[in-house]
C-alpha cells in the first residue's frame, strides 16, 4: 500500500479492495464482516437499540486517545446509556487525499482494540476519499446496534428526591483536546482524555438499584446534559459545587484557557439519576469498577425552579448553571 491516501482508495477499484482486504478485514475479523456483503446479516430478534455518531475531532490524536478510540466509545456508550448491550458497529471513513497511511493504521488499530474491549463487532462499513483541501484529514461515522436490556430509562422516570450521580471526574476529554489544539500541552503530562467504554459501569449501576436515566456528558459537558434532563419539566437539578469531582490538572488547564470544566466534554463518564434509597448501593457498585473509583453523588432533583439547574456554590451562594450557548472559546478574560 502507499504511504498516503489518494483518491484511488475511494474509487471502489483495486486500491479500495486492497485497503479492505489487507487492512480493515484483518483488523476487525468477524464472520459477518468477512463475508463482505453489501449488508451484514446479524443474529437476534429481540428489541434493539440503534445509535449513530460522527467524529470530527481535531487534532485526531490527543493525550489519552485518538479519533479511533473515540469513534467506538462514542456510539457504544450511547447504546449503553439507552439501556442496550452494544453488539455491532458500522464504520465509515471520509478521508482527505494525502492523509498518511501510517496514521490511518494507528487509528484502525485503536478501533480494533477498543471494539474488542467493548465486545462489539465491526460488521460493515464504507470508505470515501475527498480531494486535498476538501476535508480535514479524517472524519468517521459509526452507527451501532445493541440488544435492549432495560426499557425503563428516560426523563419521564425522574422524580423529586432522586440523586444525581457522576461516575468520575469531569471535563477531562474537553480540556485535553483544547489543550492539545492550542499547542500548550506536554504530551506526557498528567492531563488525559477520559475516553473509555461505559457498558460495564452502566450495567452495574442498573443492577445495583433503580436508575431513572443514564447519559454520557459529551458535547456541552455535565451542565448541558443536566439541563436536558429537566428542561420543559417542573423539576430542578440542585448541584453541590464541592461534591463535583474535578481533577487538579483539568482545573488548571481550564484556568489557563478560560474554560469551565462543567461544560467540557467527557467521553468516559456517566451521569445517572437514581432513586434516593439506591444512591449508596449504586455508588458502591461503581466504586468497585475501573473507571468508577471517583463516582460521587453531586446533587438532587427538587422542584424549586422548574426546568433549571442550580449550583450551590462553595461560598454558600446559589447560581444558575445554564446550558452551553455556542461553543466554548478560549478566553483571555
Amino acid at each position: 500500500m502507499d504511504d498516503i491516501i489518494t483518491l484511488d482508495y475511494g474509487s471502489g477499484g483495486i486500491k479500495t479492495s486492497d485497503f479492505i482486504d489487507n487492512l480493515l478485514v484483518p483488523a476487525f475479523d468477524n464472520t459477518p464482516l468477512n463475508k463482505l456483503a453489501d449488508g451484514a446479516v446479524l443474529d437476534g430478534a429481540e428489541r434493539l437499540v440503534f445509535s449513530t455518531d460522527s467524529f470530527v475531532v481535531s487534532p485526531w490524536k490527543f493525550p489519552g486517545g485518538n479519533i479511533g478510540r473515540l469513534c467506538v466509545c462514542g456510539t457504544v456508550n450511547d447504546i449503553a446509556m439507552a439501556g442496550g448491550i452494544p453488539k455491532y458497529l458500522s464504520l465509515s471513513f471520509i478521508l482527505e487525499e494525502g492523509f498518511k497511511m501510517w496514521d490511518l493504521k494507528e487509528i484502525i488499530a485503536s478501533i480494533a482494540d477498543e471494539a474488542k474491549k467493548a465486545q462489539v463487532m465491526i460488521v460493515t462499513g464504507d470508505t470515501k476519499v475527498v480531494e486535498h483541501g476538501k476535508g480535514d484529514g479524517i472524519y468517521i461515522n459509526t452507527s451501532g446496534i445493541g440488544i435492549l436490556k432495560n426499557p425503563r430509562l428516560g426523563k419521564e422516570y425522574i422524580r423529586p428526591g432522586d440523586g444525581v450521580i457522576v461516575s468520575g471526574s469531569v471535563g477531562c476529554h474537553g480540556a485535553s483536546v483544547m489543550m492539545a489544539r492550542s499547542g500548550l500541552l506536554d504530551g506526557d503530562g498528567p492531563l488525559r482524555s477520559d475516553c473509555r467504554i461505559l457498558t460495564d459501569l452502566a450495567v452495574a449501576a442498573q443492577d445495583a438499584g433503580n436508575v431513572r436515566i443514564l447519559r454520557d456528558p459529551t458535547r456541552g459537558g455535565i451542565a448541558t446534559v443536566l439541563n436536558e434532563f429537566v428542561e420543559d419539566s417542573p423539576l430542578t437539578v440542585e448541584l453541590n459545587e464541592t461534591a463535583i469531582p474535578v481533577d487538579a490538572t483539568v482545573a488548571s488547564a481550564c484556568d489557563l484557557l478560560g474554560l469551565d470544566p462543567l461544560y467540557c466534554a467527557c467521553e468516559g463518564r456517566m451521569l445517572a439519576v437514581v432513586a434516593p434509597e439506591d444512591v449508596p448501593s449504586v455508588l458502591d457498585a461503581l466504586h468497585r469498577l475501573s473507571g468508577g473509583e471517583k463516582a460521587a453523588c453531586i446533587g438532587t432533583i427538587t422542584q424549586k425552579r422548574p426546568g433549571q439547574v442550580i449550583l450551590n456554590t462553595s461560598l454558600g451562594g446559589r447560581r444558575l448553571l445554564g446550558k452551553l450557548s455556542g461553543h466554548q472559546l478560549p478566553r483571555i478574560c
Binding site: S314, L315, R319, R331, I332, C333
Partner: protein, 364 residues
Amino acid sequence: MLYESYFKKPKDIAGVIAKVRDLAKMTGPVRLMEICGTHTMAISRSGIRGLFLPEIQLISGPGCPVCVTPSGVMDEIFKLSDHKNIVITSYGDLLRVPGSRRGDSLLRRKALGAHVVDVYSPMDALALARKNPGKEVVFLGVGFETTAPGTASCLLEAVRQGVENFSILCLLKPTEPALRTLVESPDFNVSGFLCPGHVAAVTGSDAFAFLPEDYGLPAVVSGFEGADLLCSILLLMEMLADKTPGLVNEYVRLVRPKGNPAAQEMIRRVFEPVTCEWRGLGMVPGGGFKIKDEFSDFDAARRFHLTWHEGKEPAGCRCAQVIRGSLAPGQCPLFKTVCTPQDPVGPCMVSSEGSCAAAFRYEL
C-alpha cells in the same frame, strides 16, 4: 500552589458574611461597583452577587474592554476581515461581538470564509505571522493596563524580528480617565469601588488613590478568589459604616503600591494616551492608548487606513447604560426576550466578560 486554595473562601466565611450584613444595617442600602469584567464574572459565578441583596447591590461598571469598544470600530474590523489576504487574530472574547448590524460578528464572518483565528496571547499571533509570510496578520489588541505591557512587548518583538506582515490594531485603554468621566457624570450613584487587582498589579494600588482623595469614594483593590471578594466587600462596608473613605489593598500577595515599574515603562515605550470613545461614556480625553509614531509601521490602523465612523448602536440597545452601571441587565427590556447569547443585540450579552452575559448565565 502558593496557598491558592486558601483564598477560595475565608476560614470563617459565616462570620464574614454576617459582619457584612451587620454593617449594611448601619449604612442602609448601598451600591458597590466593580470595574473589571473578570470581577463581574467571578462575583456572578461564585453566587456572591445575590448574597447580600437587597441591602448591598453589587453593580458592574465599565470593566469589559470588549464591551466599551464602540460598534463603529467593530464594523471596521469586519471590513478588514473581508480581505482574502488578511488573517484577523483575536482573543476569544471578541469573536461573538456584533457591530452596528445585528447578527454580524467575527465568528459569523469566519463561517463565511474570513480568516479569523482565536489566540491566547499576542505572541501566538506573531508566531502565526512568522509562519505565514504571504499573509497579513492583524492582532486585535484589546484590554486595559493588565494586557497593555504584553501587547507592547509583542510589538517590540515584531520590530526586533522584522516580521513585516504583522500589525496590531491598538484598542487598549487606561482605566483612570474613564473612571473619572464616570464618577463625574450627573447620574453617577455608587458608594464605593472594588478595583481591578490585575490592573493594579501593573499600575500599583496607589493609582486608585484618586477615588477617595478626589471624590471621597472608598476603594479596595481586590483579588479574584472567593475570599478576596468577600473580604474586599467587608473592607468597603467598614469604610462606609465609619464614614472614612480610603484606599485599601486587599490583594497584597500580588499588588504593590507602585506596581510593576518595568511593565509601566513597557507601556510608555510603545503607547501614548489619546482621546478615545468608550461605549457608554462618550469621548474620554486620554481614554485610549495609541501606538507611537516611531512604530507606525506595525500599527494596523495606519497600515490599512482605518477610520472610525460613528457606528449606530443597534436599535433598542441599552449596553451604554448597562456599562455605566445605571441600568442592571435585568432592567433592559431586551434582556432575555430579544437579546440572548445566541442572538445578541449588543456586546454586553456576548463578551465573555459582559454584564448581561454574566446575568444571563448565572443570575437566578
